[in-house]
Symmetry: C2
Subunit: 218 residues, 2 copies
C-alpha cells in the first residue's frame, strides 16, 4: 500500500531518547516515519545508518506504521539489502546518486520494499521519466544543508511530476515543509509530507503532526 500523509523525519528528533520521540508522533497519528540517511559524500553530513532503522522497526510496525528510508548516499544500490533487512518498508534513492537508477529501483522491489526515486531542486522532473517507482520524492530544498526555506519553484515541478507519472504513485515532498507549504504541495499533487524541524523542533510535536495532517486533509 502506498505511503500517505505526514512523515515525521527523525533527523530532527532527540537521539538520546529516539524511541520516546517516535512514540509521540505515532500516538499523534503519523503512519510514516522518515529516516534520512546521509553518508558525507552525496551530501556533506553523515547522519544515520541501518542500525537506527533496526532500533525502531518493531515499535513502528506494532503501530501499523511504515519506515520510509531516504538514501542521500553515493552508490545507494550497495545499501539496499542492509536497510531492507533492518526493517525498511520503503527505500528511496536519488536519481543523481547512481548511474544505475533502474537497477537500484529493481533491487528495492526485489528486497520486498516500496521503491522511491528522489530528485534534487536542480534536477528536472524529466529525470524520472524512464523509470517506474512506487513514489517520487521531490526535494523542496537542497538536501544536506540546514536552515533553507521551501523553494517556490517546487510547485510547478510537482505539477510536472504528476503529468509524467499519473495519479497512482505517491509523490513526496521534503524540505521546509510546515502546514502552509504542505497545503500548497498537496494542491499541486503531493501525497506524502516529510517534516523534521516543524515537528521535532517544536515544543509540541504531537500538535504539529496533527496540524500538518489537517492542512493536507490527512
Amino acid at each position: 500500500m502506498a505511503l500517505k500523509g505526514i512523515a515525521p523525519s527523525i533527523l530532527a528528533a532527540d537521539f538520546a531518547r529516539l524511541g520516546e520521540e517516535v512514540g509521540t508522533v505515532l500516538a499523534a497519528g503519523a503512519r510514516v516515519i522518515h529516516v534520512d540517511v546521509m553518508d558525507g559524500h552525496f551530501v556533506p553530513p553523515i547522519t544515520m545508518g541501518d542500525l537506527v532503522v533496526k532500533a525502531i522497526a518493531d515499535q513502528v510496525h506494532e503501530a501499523n506504521a511504515k519506515i520510509d528510508v531516504h538514501l542521500m548516499i553515493e552508490r545507494p544500490e550497495e545499501q539496499i539489502r542492509a536497510f531492507a533487512k533492518a526493517g525498511a518498508d520503503s527505500i528511496t534513492v536519488h536519481a543523481e546518486a547512481t548511474p544505475h537508477l533502474h537497477y537500484a529501483l529493481q533491487a528495492i522491489k526485489e528486497a520486498g520494499c516500496l521503491s522511491g526515486v528522489a530528485i534534487n531542486p536542480g534536477t528536472p522532473a524529466e529525470a524520472i521519466s524512464a523509470v517506474q517507482a512506487d513514489m517520487v520524492l521531490c526535494m523542496t530544498v537542497n538536501p544536506g544543508w540546514g536552515g533553507q526555506a521551501f523553494l517556490d519553484s517546487s510547485i510547478a515541478k510537482l505539477q510536472r511530476i504528476r503529468e509524467l507519472i499519473g495519479d497512482t504513485p505517491a509523490v513526496q515532498v521534503d524540505g521546509g515543509i510546515g502546514k502552509e507549504t504542505a497545503a500548497r504541495c498537496a494542491a499541486a499533487g503531493a501525497t506524502v509530507f516529510v517534516a523534521g524541524t516543524a515537528v521535532f523542533g517544536t515544543q509540541n510535536p504531537a500538535a504539529a503532526v496533527k496540524a500538518i495532517s489537517t492542512a493536507t486533509n490527512g
Copy 2:
C-alpha cells in the same frame, strides 16, 4: 588529559534508548564513550554522524567523561569541524583513509580535540611513524564486518607501536575486546579498551564494564 580505561562503543547499544544505555555505563565507571562513525565507503556500513555526538554530549560531560570519536570514513578531514562542534573530545582518523594524515591530525588539534591515528590489521605499525598524535588506535579486527574474533597478531603489533611512540601517548585497541583479550592487550602496552558487544550485548552492561576495568587494572 589522555583517554584511559574502558571505552564502551555505543555501536552495540539500543538506539531507541541511547541516553539510558550511556547512563548505565557512565554509572558503572566508564569515563570514555566511543562513537563509531562509518560512511559506507571506507567500510561497508553506515552507522552514525555528529547528531549522535550532539545528543549525548551534555550527559557525558556532566559525568566528567569524554566522547571519543572514531572516524571510519573517507576524507575524514572534511568532518573534523562538525564532530568537534558537536562535542567530541577526541577524534581518530585512519591512516588508510586519507593521503593527508598529518594535515588531518593538525586539524583535530586545532579544533581543540585530542588527536588519534588508527591502523587496520593489514597496515604495519610503521604507518604511524611520521606523525605525532595523542593516541594510536590499533584495530584488533577489520572494521566494518561483524562477528570477527580478536586477531592474535595484534599483540606483537601493540609492542611494536610502543617501541615507536614511547610511553606517553595512549594506545587504544578495538575489536573482539572482552576481559581476557583486554588484559593481554594491556600487558602489551594498550591503555584504552573499546568494547561494544562485550558491554551492550550482555544482560548486564554495568557488570561488563566493571569486569573489563578490573581485568585491565582500571
